[in-house]
Amino acid sequence: MTAAVIILTLLALIFGLALGYAAIRFRIEGNPVADEIEAILPQTQCAQCGYPGCRPYAEAIAAEEAEINRCPPGGEAGIKQLAELLGKDIIPLDADVGIEKALPEVAIIHEDVCIGCTKCIQACPVDAILGAAKQMHTVIATECTGCELCIPPCPVDCIDMIPTKIDITNWHWGKPIPITTISEIADTRGEEVA
């Protein structure tokens, strides 16, 4: 009985050690830098940077094949975070890829014009458009990342971008006001916060 327990324990121990060695020997070198870059990117999967999605762009940045200023949805704040992470200089957004919008936008389909061709559904990277062939389509506003990829395929130009309205779900505090200037702008503060 004792011998059985000891021998099985030893056997398991040897196998455990062998597996432990194999885990080190066959370790997958992930790319931690690409992971961190991807965490900063806005995950709109809009492909405006010229890469098929946020992950490929992150990998390209990590491999130093792409500049950090090719992400319009991330905007200036995104470039700043990327520059800090990678120890690079802050550069303005590349004008070729688009402009940063003041407010986040969502697509809206004019439903009386829509012919139900499903082309925008195929283009949408985040599956935010609902509809079926020859049925009216509509945009799920909470899922839409405002990437504008659905606009070019639409044969009847029935998709527009509208700024999202500020409501309880996307409102956030304004940037903190530096303490030295608080008295100077105290009277404009109401507008700042709103």
Partner: protein, 193 residues
Amino acid sequence: MSEYLLILVSTVLANNFVLVRFLGLCPFMGVSNKVEGAIGMAIATAFVLTLSSASSYLVYTWLLVPFDLTYLSTLSFILVIAVMVQLTEMIMHKTSPLLYRVLGIFLPLITTNCAVLGVALLNVQEHHNLLQSALYGFGAATGFGLVLVAFAAVREKVAMADVPVHFKGAAIGLVTAGLMSLAFMGFSGLANL
């Protein structure tokens, strides 16, 4: 030499593990939707089966028999198989990430493939030596891979066919497997072990 050849022919055709012994049916039904996945599964299973049958033989003869612990063979074989599967998974993740993703959950599930344990236990029962054990495992895996890939090819055709609605999916798959099993009965006189 002819003895080893006999083992191969026997395990691949006459005593095919899937269609004659009915072992390892879950991956047979589960991974046979696409030929590429089936080929990957066949290769992974071949690797695991050959290694695990050889190493279970070593564990059995050098550890269990000298200490008179043969009643623990099932337990220790399961341990050996689990380790082998884990090792295969690591190696495959490193060498072929694509195949790793195609096989997905079915790769760790080789552990519970009854053909793997079946081979280890049958080796003991048939008093095989080390080379015979390894060959038996390899033959079993080849037979498994052969019918798995053939079955996947058939199922790809069946998926396109106009199957009556009540037979769609797993039902027609099982009917197809049954017909293949009947066909493999034809090999039964080929090799007797």
